[in-house]
Amino acid sequence: MDNKTIYALSTVFGKSGVAVFRISGKSAFNFFTEMTELKLSKIEPRKMYFLPIFDVDSRETLDKCMVVAFKAPHSFTGEDTVEINCHGSKAVIRSVSNSLSKIKGFRLAEAGEFSRRSFYNGKMDLTEADGLADLIDAETRLQQEVALKQMSGTLFNLYEDWRSRLVSLLSYVEAYIDFPDENIPQETVLKLENNVFKIVEEIENHIAINKVEERLRDGFQVVISGPTNAGKSSLINAIVKRNIAIVSDIAGTTRDVIEAYVDIKGFPVIFSDTAGLRDANDEIEKIGIDLARKKIAEADFNIFLFDAENDSPEIFNEYITEKNNYLLVGNKSDIITVEKRDELIQKGCVLISAKHNENIEAIIDALFNYFIDIYSSSSAHLITRQRYKEALEECLCNLKRFNLSKEIELSAEDLRLACRAIGKITGRVEVDEILDKIFSSFCIGK
């Protein structure tokens, strides 16, 4: 607990038509300056405003919302409070939540924290208090459920690994401080910096490769590849026609690549095609093929398109790896034989006619299913995940301050705070844990 301004989604994620965010704390009204065009001086408490809200950084409009402000002490928590009523779609909730997290001094509320603040400020009476126990109970159960689901797996191990490594490093520093007459090898302490840098790097990478979030912001990369005559451009055109093309025909990096930015049922997708795959006769085309190979490897999803009449799906075998998510698509379905059709379907191919706009839905559905799959697996516990991110960022911030050129007790302080930050996710750091490490690692005591 600290005195920061807290925010949280008050409605159930993804299940309500209208989502309500609540913000409480000293700088709650900064929401208006950071995310709306409403001037602070213009805000009347308890008045509902209908206004667009923007992302803190990109200034992109996130939604049009109903927003109401409560001035301390006339609010549930007794602090300055803002309530945002926005659309209940996952994408909107996510982007609003993301933007709120970027406001300085804001952090995600912990379980029961709004209620707790309201206690501190004397805003709850006896009847409400009785209900509170149930509330806390419910929150705890939910938390446990979330914790069990989320933390049973690799994520928990990863965070716990960082934390226990930090505790180890801290125990060296603490031993060095608390047992000056013992022979704590100086080189052990000097190695600390490298070890800390390593953890910093790992945490940074972890935060950075949080792909889904990034993709939701920038778009999923879908690459269409195939021989020159397979009909890649026609397919892109067909898709663009059926969906909202946000920007179309951005010039590609090579003459042959075209890109289209398309919204597929709420997911932003960037389609691009590659140079023809088979015709590696001259140098320039070889370069084109190398480029295509790279694009295929980096794509979130590959559409391997071939001429159903003249080619077979096997031509893509060399490009398919275990890591690829892909769909084999045979074009020109209108001109092939029934036997050929059955054979290709048997091989798991989707058959379309880009020219006649036939069966394009099948591709769209396959893409949507894939997106929804990875999206739900990664953001089922959006709020909790955001909490992790905040904790990790706090940890990083302290670790980056760490260096051995300042007083050792200050370096220790950096490590302590870093441990405490990860401890918020995985459990608290106990002094005893550090002492245990000290006594098992060094022969301490005369």
Binding site: A111, M124, D125, A129, A133, I136, C443, G445
Partner: protein
């Protein structure tokens, strides 16, 4: 009535001395009962005071006008400020004492204490009246009456000593043990257990070959423990350093079966940070050598304390392995090492004032609470003594130190919320506010509150007030004195041209010494070092201290939410049976304390909070 006191303190060790003196200072008519007046203030083990965390405690005792710092300043024979190369928060004063001088000055200080009577008698039980504590029962059947009692029994409570398989009953070599009190405590429903500690052999200095040994000297400018001591005048003497070797280890290993610890004779748990040599060999099997410090026990004695080889091995084995060490080949062993096991009370039975929750008027301090160390004992004695006096005088007040105010607070809070499973020793890593709880500012943290409760003399308070006033005005001076960029750069410092720079800002730069600061302003030369230091530390730690103050603000918020003593945890909705049990056992006084109890969940604390806010 004859034999009627406000407070009786049982035991004349380090806890007992501070307890009776503090009680008397607060104005209670106090009796110190000890079974042997001549051993009051005895250093049973290591003849040294202070160290990391421990030195901090001694300064805190001194800030509240306790005795330990003043006594060691007079009895010290080698003073060292540990961690001098590190920052001020983790520096700890340590001094070796002349054992007999320490005892002498401690006894003298007690004799000079007003309101205090000292009597030689063994205590073997309590006197109860209407089921309330009314006094103590002496071994000869006599009674002494008091409204409050402080027990500081140390290792004497059912003490048993071990040397190999040989066991001797007693609380210290050549002394008796106290067997009468434990049954009373158990009958009163207190949870008790056994703990273990040990002391090494003593060697004859005249038979050690000092010429081959490395030396360790004290500081050139020895720093005093007490805020009131101007200068250390005692002559400083050196220690020697030797070490165990493979031959030593071989002998010890071959005789593992003969040591009391491994043969199962000792059941109590010993401290990991003060392991016996056999413990070290088991836990660090790959080490081929361990350092042993040879510490003289005083100016006029040939007794040497070999720091690092406490053991419970039989005498013949001790003799064999000691003689394998360099310089000790022909040493005469004057007294063999022994391990000692004794009773302690689960400190979760206590409140923040070190009062036993089940028995009003009974206070415990020192090893009986599961701690180890003279300093830990002394600090508890002080706290218990003050509270016993406040209780006896019906003042309606109680005195405690919280975690943000001092190491005393950290220690007591740890003890009562977490209990102990090995003897508890202070480390600076135990404090979450380490940058603030420093040995150098113990007076700023505690003298005022000590004065308000009546345990600090007017004389000390005046000194303290003057010092604080000087720090304040010097701090203001440094904050207001603006230095130009040109002047700063002329001193070879680089400076960001972003706003005015005060003298205090410059102090915060790394590696800026006092001389550099004096170059900006020669007036600074007049400033006393103790004053300068406080402002400098404040500058150097500023960013981090700000964070600690913020943390403390949050900590205090929970600490100010009091829980009524008669609360029924069963009535709180949403608490599991386990949580009800944990709360009921510790009976936390505040929400903060409740949240620190081992195993208590945040949800349980919130439910409790909800309940007390409205009950």
């Amino acid at each position: 009535m004859e034999g009627l006191y406000d407070v009786i303190v049982v035991g004349g060790g380090h806890a007992g001395c501070e307890a009776c003196a503090a009680s008397a200072r607060v104005g209670a008519k106090t009796l110190l009962l000890t079974h042997k007046i001549s051993t009051i203030g005895e250093m049973s083990c290591n003849p040294a005071i202070g160290g990391l965390g421990k030195g901090h405690l001694v300064r805190e005792i001194d800030a509240m006008d306790g005795l330990m710092a003043k006594v060691i300043d007079k009895a010290g024979i080698q003073f060292r400020m540990l961690n001098l190369s590190k920052g001020p928060a983790v520096r700890g004063p340590r001094a070796q004492a002349d054992r007999s001088l320490y005892k002498k000055y401690m006894q003298q200080a007690l004799i000079e204490t007003k309101n205090l009577t000292i009597e030689e008698a063994a205590v073997e039980g309590f006197v109860l009246k209407d089921n309330k504590l009314n006094g103590v029962l002496l071994a000869d059947g006599q009674k002494r009456y008091a409204k409050a009692i402080v027990l500081t029994t140390g290792t004497f409570l059912n003490g048993v000593m071990f040397t190999g398989h040989q066991t001797t009953i007693g609380g210290r070599i050549g002394e008796i043990s106290c067997t009468g009190i434990t049954p009373y405590l158990k009958q009163m429903g207190l949870k008790m257990g056994r703990l273990k500690t040990g002391t090494p052999s003593r060697l004859n200095a005249d038979t050690i070959d000092w010429s081959v040994l490395e030396r360790q000297s004290g500081d050139k400018n020895p720093q005093a423990f007490s805020f009131l001591t101007d200068k250390i005048t005692n002559k400083q003497i050196d220690c020697g350093i030797t070490s165990t070797n493979e031959q030593t280890h071989k002998i010890i290993r071959e005789n593992f079966s003969k040591c009391a610890l491994f043969s199962g004779l000792i059941t109590g748990k010993g401290p990991r940070y003060c392991p016996s040599i056999e413990d070290k060999l088991v836990r660090f099997a790959d080490r081929t050598s361990h350092q042993i410090f040879l510490e003289p026990e005083g100016y006029d004695t040939n007794v040497i304390y070999p720091n690092g080889i406490s053991t419970s091995l039989p005498a013949d084995v001790q003799s064999d392995f000691i003689h394998t060490m360099q310089g000790l080949e022909n040493v005469e062993i004057m007294q063999f090492a022994y391990a000692i096991e004794y009773d302690f009370v689960d400190p979760q039975e206590l409140n923040h004032c070190l009062g036993v929750k089940k028995i009003p008027g009974l206070y415990l301090a020192g090893q009986i609470n599961g701690t180890t160390g003279y300093e830990e004992a002394g600090a508890q004695g002080l706290l218990a003594g003050i509270n016993a006096a406040l209780y006896a005088k019906n003042s309606g007040k109680e005195f405690y130190v919280d975690r943000s105010q001092g190491y005393i607070g950290v220690m007591v809070d740890d003890l009562i919320t977490k209990g102990v499973d090995e003897p508890y020793r202070m480390f600076t890593s135990r404090s979450e506010y380490r940058l603030l709880l420093r040995a150098d500012n113990a007076d700023a943290r505690l003298t005022e509150i000590g004065y308000n409760i009546g345990c600090v003399s007017d004389e000390r308070y005046a000194v303290y007030k003057e010092k604080m006033q000087k720090i304040q005005s010097f701090n203001k001076y440094c904050e207001n004195k603006i230095i130009s960029y040109a002047d700063i750069e002329n001193q070879g410092l680089s400076v960001k041209h972003n706003g005015k720079k005060s003298l205090k800002d410059i102090m915060s730069y790394p590696n800026v010494s006092r001389e550099t600061i004096e170059n900006f302003d020669s007036e600074i030369k007049k400033i006393d070092n103790k004053i300068y230091e406080q402002v400098e530390i404040d500058a150097k730690y500023s960013g981090y201290l700000k964070r600690e103050y913020e943390d403390i603000e949050i900590f205090k918020r929970d600490e100010n939410l009091k829980i009524r003593e008669d609360i029924d945890y069963n009535k709180i909705g949403g608490l599991s049976t386990e949580m009800v049990q944990r709360f009921t056992r510790v009976k936390p006084k505040t929400i903060g304390e409740a949240s620190r109890i081992t195993g208590v969940t945040p949800a349980a604390v919130t439910a409790l909070l909800g309940y007390i806010k409205n009950a």
